[in-house]
């Protein structure tokens, strides 16, 4: 039900986003995105039927095979793919393109779950951890070759799954700290202050903690590493990231610095959402989204249409739906008897969560602009199918949970 609600809302919003009053289009018109999205939705029904018909064991048994197939597709993308919007991530089939990276998500989820569900798997085993990171690392590398940073980052969400299954939270904490320091470095122009703060923190930690040699050593090394990271931020920003990615980070930190240039997307997106006020402007009444002030509004910035036309109430409903979906997925995951199914469930939740958080976060200026779709809302066949497959495999597994012997 949640799925249906989200997909339908998404479809109507795509129509609103591309609607042009001068041409009296209908929502069914195949020449516009909403019409095509309807086709994709129809295809989803076929996919759902397929998933339900196939025996549940298929997914576990062939997890690695599916994974392998998708990896093979990903390898082929740079060779036979076509370039869209600076990213070479499409494989053309007729007039429609397919993005293998969208399918890589569920394939990887299956593979990770399969590995974690295998007999004798222990999360605290370093070697096994390495294998897991390998499983998500391979598609990441291949997607990096496609220059699709957004999708690449999606794979980091598997850390949440690992965390659930017993991985030490250390990695999560380190990750969050690194991101915080990264942002701080950009916010505070003079890095001397930052270095000073770290040194002071180090001295305080040493002074007020247990004075063991080993602890002091670890803290000192840690501090030096952090300072090194700070020094490297500039280098990373200017030399590793591409100019448009640098700008997106700059736009996050100070969106008003160049509202016509790199701040355009975020500024316009916030204007569109903000202009919806409490009740919104009404269906098809949005001026910002309708007149193309917000770029990519039927795909990555679809949330602007919701914000503008349905106001805070609409945003509230949408976010509530998503949170409900996420909690529901976790609830389903938790009632699985096999570790495979549970891990898979968490993978689904993590992937949805990551998309949801980053996508809406970027439209309201909380995250840098990263081109990933909002599940079920954004226009795009591959993404819609990918998310549908992700969700319905879980539902299939759930439907047969009684037939599985408890293993983990």
């Amino acid at each position: 039900m949640l799925y249906l609600a989200l997909v339908t809302l998404g479809w109507i919003n795509i129509f609103a986003a591309v609607y042009d009053e001068t041409i009296k289009q209908t929502i069914w018109d195949l020449s516009i995105n909403s019409g095509r999205q309807l086709l994709f939705m129809a295809a989803c029904i076929v996919i759902i039927m397929g998933i339900i018909i196939v025996d549940m064991r298929f997914y576990e048994v062939f997890a690695y095979l599916i994974y392998g197939l998708v990896i093979a597709l990903l390898v082929m993308v740079p060779i036979i793919g076509k370039e869209v919007g600076g990213n070479k991530s499409w494989i053309g089939i007729g007039s429609f393109g397919v993005q293998p990276s969208e399918f890589a998500k569920f394939a990887t989820a299956l593979a990770v779950a399969k590995y974690m569900g295998s007999v004798g798997f222990r999360m605290d085993n370093f070697k096994m951890q390495l294998v897991l990171f390998g499983l998500i690392g391979v598609p990441m590398l291949l997607i990096l070759a496609q220059k699709d940073i957004g999708t690449l980052l999606v794979f980091t969400c598997f850390i949440l799954v690992f965390f659930r299954e017993g991985m030490s939270p250390f990695l999560l904490v380190v990750g969050i700290c690194a991101a915080a320091i990264f942002i701080l470095t950009l916010l505070i122009p003079n890095q001397l202050y930052l270095h000073g703060a770290i040194v002071i923190a180090l001295i305080m930690l040493i002074a007020f903690g247990k004075k063991k040699i080993k602890r002091i050593a670890i803290l000192t090394v840690g501090a030096v590493i952090i300072m090194g990271v700070i020094e490297s931020v500039d280098y990373v920003i200017t030399d590793v990231l591409k100019p448009h990615q640098q700008n997106r980070i700059k736009a996050l930190i100070n969106p008003d610095a160049d509202p016509l240039g790199y701040g355009w997307n975020v500024t316009q997106s916030k204007i569109a959402i903000g202009s919806g006020r409490f009740y919104g402007k009404g269906f098809l009444k949005g001026t910002q989204t309708k007149f193309d002030f917000v770029p990519e509004q039927s795909t990555d910035f679809i949330f602007c249409t919701i914000g503008e036309e349905y106001g805070w109430l609409g945003s509230f409903a949408t976010i509530s739906l998503f949170v409900a979906l996420l909690l529901r997925v976790i609830f389903i995951a938790e009632r699985q008897k096999s570790r495979f199914a549970r891990s898979y469930g968490y993978s689904v939740a993590s992937i949805f969560f990551f998309h949801f958080a980053i996508n809406i976060g970027m439209t309201i200026g909380l995250f840098p602009v990263i081109g990933i779709p909002l599940p079920f809302f954004s226009y795009g066949g591959s993404a819609l199918w990918g998310f549908t497959i992700l969700l319905f495999i879980l539902l299939k597994l759930d439907a047969h949970r009684g037939e599985v012997l408890q293993r983990g």
């Binding site: 204007i271 903000g274 202009s275 006020r277 007149f291 503008e308």
Partner: protein, 603 residues
């Protein structure tokens, strides 16, 4: 196992949702800035300037009308990638000028890269025709059409006034927020006085447009659009032919001509010399021309009929005569010897009655009349007696409309001066004063100051035998076709109308056998007038004449004041009679008088 981890993940999910909703609440509900920005993004607000009311003369001839003018506006965020070389070529600008324009643009207070801002103003029809076809080459530039004033006559400038962009000071004091920067407003003359009636109301059209600035129809189907309401048309009492003839006659002279229709108070012509062509103060050259005109040593912006306070000279004797009659100190038969010991006089008369004294403008006669008025023997002290008499005298003189502004429908009118006892107290620093100190007011010299419009109004008052309507230019406003209410009200003097008949007799005599007999007499019309020659040492005297005609049922009352032109019987009387002839008979049958006026050698 790891149950707590499940909780944490769920808490994180819900937390993120809540954070988003809070942030959204801030930008959607609490912060109205975004809604404003969205409007400026997608809604192009176009002002429709109203047509300013037209101004006609009394015969329906158009005097002031509107011609189109164009402002070039810019939305700078849309001009990215402007081909400046091509722009300069099309608009006929040098590179330097273009840079300067952009500099000015950014310095404007209302400047915003998202809003249309004035870039080049006052393009004429010709300029616009040149650039119209090329305008679509330059994204972000828009044409704002509006109208500017045009004048069918080169004269009448000081009466009509002019229109220009509202000043900063005015804008700030505009509490009703009627005007916006860039609006035009009447700056003087009729344009200023009738601003409220003429301006009309701006309309606003809100148009939707997409990110490329392409219009996508009207906002909310025009629900919030307002139509511009044109200003009301004005019909003036000006007779354009007479006005132009008057300007023709006064050309090259400094002074003023004011003609009034006595039965209504409508001003038939109002000339200030020297003047300027009102068309100079429209369009792009407004700024430079204004500087030239306002710095001119002949003061063409000085509106003499209203602002020049002159001593009235002998025309004042008519008022004196009626005041004395009203006070009962003389009768029309009272004779006073022309005794030149205190004050000079012309030759040719000796012992006149009142009418003769007016006809020959006898100075000693009116000295005697004033003495009778001011020293009536009410008090034993000559000082107190004069004070009592002067206060009485002042009351009567003021009732003719002298001594304070009449309230005509033009700004900057001056009131002149009719001395009061308090005035002399100040002038003499509270030392005592009596008749012998102040007698020169008897013949319109001394402290008396009168503006030409008051002189004409006085002529009209005599013509009406005792009342006047406040002179006014505009006789019909808009569809009501009525003047302002204050111009429909009669003002009576404190003098009985029977005494006016005596004054009329005397003024007829002035023209027929008195001082003005050589140049003001007309064959077919009985003209009543009075000359004045106002001392102006060391320069030649000012020449003054007031008149009305015909004697019965008068159609025109007039005052003519020509600076430094000698005797009133010459320049002023000639001009006044030519005006009367032209107005009543359509043309002059006295080309020699016209030639005499045009030659301008009056001394």
């Amino acid at each position: 196992m790891n149950e707590w981890r499940k909780e944490i993940i769920q808490v994180v999910f819900v937390l993120v949702g809540i954070i988003f909703l809070i942030k959204l609440f801030f930008i959607q509900v609490l912060d109205s800035r975004y809604a404003d920005l969205a409007n400026s993004n997608a809604i192009l607000r176009q002002v429709e300037y109203p047509f300013r009311g037209l101004i006609y003369d009394r015969n329906g001839k158009l005097i002031v009308y509107n011609t189109p003018e164009y402002d070039l506006q810019i939305i700078s965020k849309e001009t990215i990638g402007l081909d400046s070389v091509r722009f300069c070529e099309v608009f006929g600008l040098s590179k330097e000028m273009l840079r300067q324009k952009f500099k000015e643009l950014r310095a404007r207070k209302e400047y915003s890269p998202y809003k249309p801002t004035l870039f080049i103003d006052k393009l004429s029809n010709n300029d616009f025709a040149k650039i119209q076809d090329n305008l679509d080459e330059f994204a972000g530039f828009y044409i704002q059409a509006r109208t500017t004033r045009a004048y069918s006559t080169a004269g009448l400038a000081n009466a009509l006034g002019y229109v220009s962009e509202i000043s900063k000071g005015k804008l700030e004091s505009d509490e009703l927020k009627i005007y916006k920067q860039g609006d035009y407003i009447g700056q003087s003359g009729v344009e200023l006085f009738y601003e409220e009636q003429l301006r009309g109301k701006s309309g606003v059209k809100r148009k939707l447009r997409n990110v490329k600035g392409i219009e996508k129809g009207s906002f909310s189907n025009g629900k919030y659009d307002t139509l511009s309401i044109p200003g009301q048309n004005l019909v003036t009492g000006i007779d354009l032919d007479l006005q132009q003839y008057a300007e023709f006659l006064l050309n090259g002279k400094a002074g003023s001509i004011v003609a009034i229709e006595p039965s209504t108070g409508e001003i038939l012509s109002l000339v200030s010399g020297p003047s300027y062509d009102p068309n100079l103060l429209t369009g792009r050259l407004y700024g430079s021309n204004f500087k030239l005109i306002s710095n001119d040593t002949l003061k063409p912006l000085f509106n003499r009929p209203l602002m020049a306070q002159y001593r009235p000279g002998s025309i004042f004797k008519v008022a004196q005569a009626m005041t004395a009659l009203q006070e009962g100190v003389i009768t029309p038969e009272t004779r006073i010897r022309c005794d030149k010991t205190l004050i000079g006089c012309h030759e040719g008369h000796d012992n006149q009655d009142l009418r003769g004294a007016i006809a020959n403008s006898c100075n000693p006669y009116f000295l005697g009349v004033l003495r009778k008025m001011l020293n009536k023997g009410i008090s034993n002290s000559p000082y107190d007696d004069t004070r009592i008499g002067l206060a009485e005298w002042n009351k009567h003189i003021n009732s003719f409309g002298f001594g304070s502004i009449l309230g005509i429908d033009l700004p900057n009118e001056k009131g002149g001066l009719i001395p009061t006892p308090e005035y002399y107290d100040r002038a003499y620093s509270n030392r005592p004063w009596k008749f012998s100190n102040i007698y020169s007011i008897a013949i319109g010299e001394g402290e008396n100051l009168v503006v030409p419009i008051q002189m004409a109004n006085f002529a009209a008052t005599v013509a009406n035998r005792g009342f006047y309507y406040i002179p006014h230019l505009v006789k019909e406003i808009g569809k009501d076709a009525k003047p302002l209410p204050q111009y429909m009200e009669r003002h009576y003097t404190t003098i009985d109308s029977s005494y006016f008949n005596i004054a009329v007799d005397a003024m007829q005599q002035v023209v027929e056998s008195g001082t003005a007999q050589y140049r003001a007499k007309l064959a077919d019309v009985i003209v009543c007038g009075k000359t004045g020659t106002v001392q102006n040492d060391p320069l030649p005297s000012h020449s003054v004449f007031i008149a009305f005609a015909p004697r019965d049922n008068p159609k025109i009352a007039i005052s003519v004041y020509v600076e430094d032109a000698g005797q009133g019987a010459r320049a002023a009387a000639s001009i006044a009679s030519l005006m009367i002839e032209k107005y009543l008979l359509g043309q002059t049958k006295r080309p020699h008088i016209e030639q005499y006026v045009l030659n301008g050698k009056f001394l």
